[in-house]
Subunit: 526 residues, 2 copies
């Protein structure tokens, strides 16, 4: 399949008529062909009109059709073969093995949601049967199911060109919920986006679904993104990116005549807490493992460990020394875009120049657009006095905060903004101290983990990749894992409808064999 530099509007490929841009290979600085024309307002209008028109038919397609569609997208992505891998490596600067792994994750994510759709529990069926004899008033028959919100705008992320992009977690969960998707490609990987977009477009065709179930727009600027979130036919937004970008979309969504939910995954420094007995037992080992997590993917993960909190003392000294030594050996690696590299360099320079911060180590210097890792230390007092030290530096930089005692460490967590993850390094002798911190952590984190780092985000049923603002726009949600489908649903009640008019999910005979609640009690049929 050739990359043609086209928008995908329903079943068509369309040359964007507005300003053009090209992908850049960050490893070489080379501009990649072809040029991609930006979408016009008319293109956007068509995509949204098709999505609106497709909605009722798509959402009532049989669950099996919807599940097979998700699997077909995965098959079509795999069928792109090496062309996809090579283009994605060229556009992202990420190693081939990482991109292959990410493709596997993307496809298994689509399959996970196919399973969720088939099981049907997400429909949340509840039935409160009529009680015609009830006194003083008879009770009506009342049945509830979740329905999808409507067309969803999905913004591809720079740092996962497959797994959080055109057919990534937001798209997979929105399609699984029954929502058409209008995707906006990230300009850092337009060719990858078109290839994946065509795989989705082909799956729509393969499965005989209405063409408006999926469209893909390109824009080298911001106007199409803003217009997409403002469009009255769009009913929810999925986004992974910067805090500035996410909060701008939140504001547009809140100011609409009909405000809509925005699920923006934005900013997190993911504190690592080193407890005293764990530090005493394995300071060096933990220091090395920490650095491995820090430099993974040039630090370009939402869950990158950007902050370490620990009690000051000789054991922390051993941790810092081991981490500094490991870091100094780390080769630089290419960042996703020239802009991300520039922002990283500026962020690191700003911290290095900070009077309250000591630079403990730098990784090896690298070539074009390469991330030179950095490890800093500061005191708890300075960290609390300088809120700018909490700002995320996107890349392989981390700050160790030397705390005089546990009360200060707790105070730092209390003062922190919402985060995606917190990692606790503990031994059994630390359990009491850890237990007393858990309530504080639960109030600020989406995921709490022990003796590891947050950088591995398993795509499963119990995963929460979310967290209180500003980690995400809406801390009631996760953007990874099967629970992500709930973001795109709302409940509807049906009262005294004859079976002939009820949707299959609610019919008395339960033709879809769904688990459901009868007067509140779970009826387990599968």
């Amino acid at each position: 399949m050739n990359i043609q530099g086209e928008l995908l509007i329903g079943s068509r490929g369309v040359r964007g008529s507005q300003a053009t841009s090209r992908g850049i290979n960050p490893a070489s600085g080379e501009l990649l062909e072809p040029a991609f024309g930006s979408a016009s307002q008319a293109d956007l209008d068509q995509a949204c009109a098709l999505a609106r028109d497709a909605f009722d038919a798509y959402r009532e397609a049989p669950l099996e059709v919807r599940a097979a569609f998700l699997e077909k997208i995965g098959d079509n992505i795999m069928a792109l073969g090496d062309a996809l891998i090579e283009r994605c490596v060229a556009e992202s600067g990420l190693p081939r093995a990482r991109i292959e792994g990410e493709r596997g994750r993307t496809v298994s994510q689509l399959r996970l949601f196919a399973g969720v759709v088939r099981a049907g529990d997400f429909l949340g069926v509840r039935i409160d049967p009529a009680q015609p004899e009830r006194k003083p008033l008879p009770r009506s028959d009342l049945r509830m199911r979740y329905i999808p919100l409507g067309p969803v705008a999905v913004f591809g992320a720079s740092n996962f060109p497959l797994a959080f992009s055109v057919a990534g977690g937001d798209t997979a969960s929105a399609l699984a919920a029954g929502c058409p998707v209008v995707a906006k490609a990230h300009p850092a990987h337009p060719g990858t986006s078109e290839l994946v977009g065509r795989a989705v477009q082909q799956a729509v065709r393969d499965c005989g679904l209405p063409e408006g179930v999926f469209s893909l727009l390109f824009d080298s600027g911001l106007s199409i993104s803003q217009a997409l979130v403002a469009d009255p036919r769009i009913k929810a937004v999925g986004f992974t990116g910067s805090r500035a970008g996410g909060t701008a979309l939140m504001k547009i969504a809140a100011d609409r005549a009909e405000p809509i939910p925005v699920y923006a995954e934005m900013s997190s420094i993911n504190p690592v807490l080193l407890f005293p007995h764990a530090l005493a037992a394995r300071a060096e080992e933990t220091g090395k493992a920490f650095v491995s997590s820090l430099v993974l993917g040039a630090g370009q993960f939402c869950t990158n460990p950007g902050l370490v909190l620990a009690l000051d003392g000789p054991d922390l000294g051993r941790f810092i020394a081991a981490a500094a030594q490991a870091l100094a050996e780390m080769p630089a690696s290419t960042m996703l875009t020239p802009g991300i590299h520039r922002a990283y360099e500026a962020g690191v320079a700003h911290i290095m120049a900070h009077t309250a911060v000591t630079t403990e180590a730098r990784g090896k210097a690298g070539g074009l657009h390469q991330c030179q890792a950095a490890l800093f230390t500061t005191t708890a007092d300075a960290f609390l006095r300088h809120p700018e030290l909490q700002d995320e530096v996107f890349g392989a930089a981390s700050l160790v905060v030397r705390c005089p005692d546990m009360a200060t460490l707790r105070g730092i967590i209390e003062a922190m903004e919402g985060q995606l993850t917190a990692a606790l390094h503990i031994e059994p002798a630390d359990y009491d101290a850890a237990r007393s911190l858990l309530p504080v952590l639960e109030r600020r984190m989406g995921r709490i983990l022990v003796n590891g780092f947050g950088t591995g985000v398993e795509v499963g049923h119990a995963m929460v990749h979310g967290g209180p603002y500003p980690a995400t726009a809406d801390g009631r949600s996760t953007s990874v894992g099967s629970l992500a489908i709930d973001r795109f649903l709302r409940p509807v009640s049906y009262q005294d409808l004859p079976d002939a008019l009820l949707p299959d999910a609610l019919k008395t005979e339960n033709p879809l064999h769904l688990n459901r609640r009868l007067d509140g009690a779970l009826q387990f049929v599968r």
Copy 2:
């Protein structure tokens, strides 16, 4: 228990130091003693500080303690006896039987949530066990549960001084979720609010819970409401009231440093759809039943049928004639407040003066602050040309729209804003026509009902009392029924935590005997 005109700040009663106001008996215009002083910013600050301090202990109290607390609130409300009923009748102008019924509903709502808490399904436990042998990477142990958001601000509604007020659905569901509540009393029923607030305060004491679990503030103006929603310790808002009030709170919440969810139930005209065969079969009967629903509680229900859509013709003429006749016989009844009565009169006068509207009937004229019902008709064309005819007139006024054909009727629904309910009056011969409208209705309504009216809102498991904006601020939710608890929860994941550190809900041995999902599949244990 005497009414003392006091704020309740945790375990204390406090005389509000700011501007005073009194309740008014709308039936007599009489000012009711005592005066209530408004809360100061310092009072608000104390209530929020106590709520924050109570949160961790309250949310981890055993489920049985939380359930017993909800039941105790109900018992304490019943123990207020006639004093509560009499005060509530005096402050609301509502009949005694209605207030007694509403008390029953309020108490059974608290008991429903006690049952929800005991069952524990709201915790949404999911466990994905570790797979240490998995290739290429081992899988961590991952467990998820929902935790409460934090302290919730609840705004009492004017039209349900018990069921949607200090210990109403918002408070019951927030407390059930594990959230402390800072309630703001509606100024229309301060004495009722204090009595009920003391019942809650006493239940906190009876159950040995931290005093900050509940506080109650009074304010004769807007400043405390605004400051409460802006307070960083408040993590969600429950509100029932006007669109202007709800959207003002939404704006404050969105502009906070940490935006928070607002669950505002605001504005709905609840279309009634009369299908041709139903109209042919029972126009008169339906007209009379419609009027009974319209004038119930002086039309002061969120689900009041403010709009009727039907095909024009002789059968609709019979419906209108029967409805007009029934309405003309309807005695006026006292409205909740002088202000609500004034707004109703102004709204009706505005419609009566509208050139495109015919006044078909008025109810009997009444005395002081009494609602004189009103029935209007207009054409579909005029309704579509004059969007102001969609504005809710709070009270017993309704507008019948004569539609030339089903396509026009469908177009009107497509052009409507989000609504709480739609009521379809149908016979089997109407099913095909009804079926084709259902997708349009589902996109705009929270509840669809057949051959009835929306004014009865059952407190059960399958109820949705919500709907797309502006029916509610957040169409993903319901404010009535057991599902309302979900509004105040967010998911948290725990990865590789030793059992010793896991909350009981997630421990391997399942000490709470909870239903849970294992690798996504429901494990049904109760």
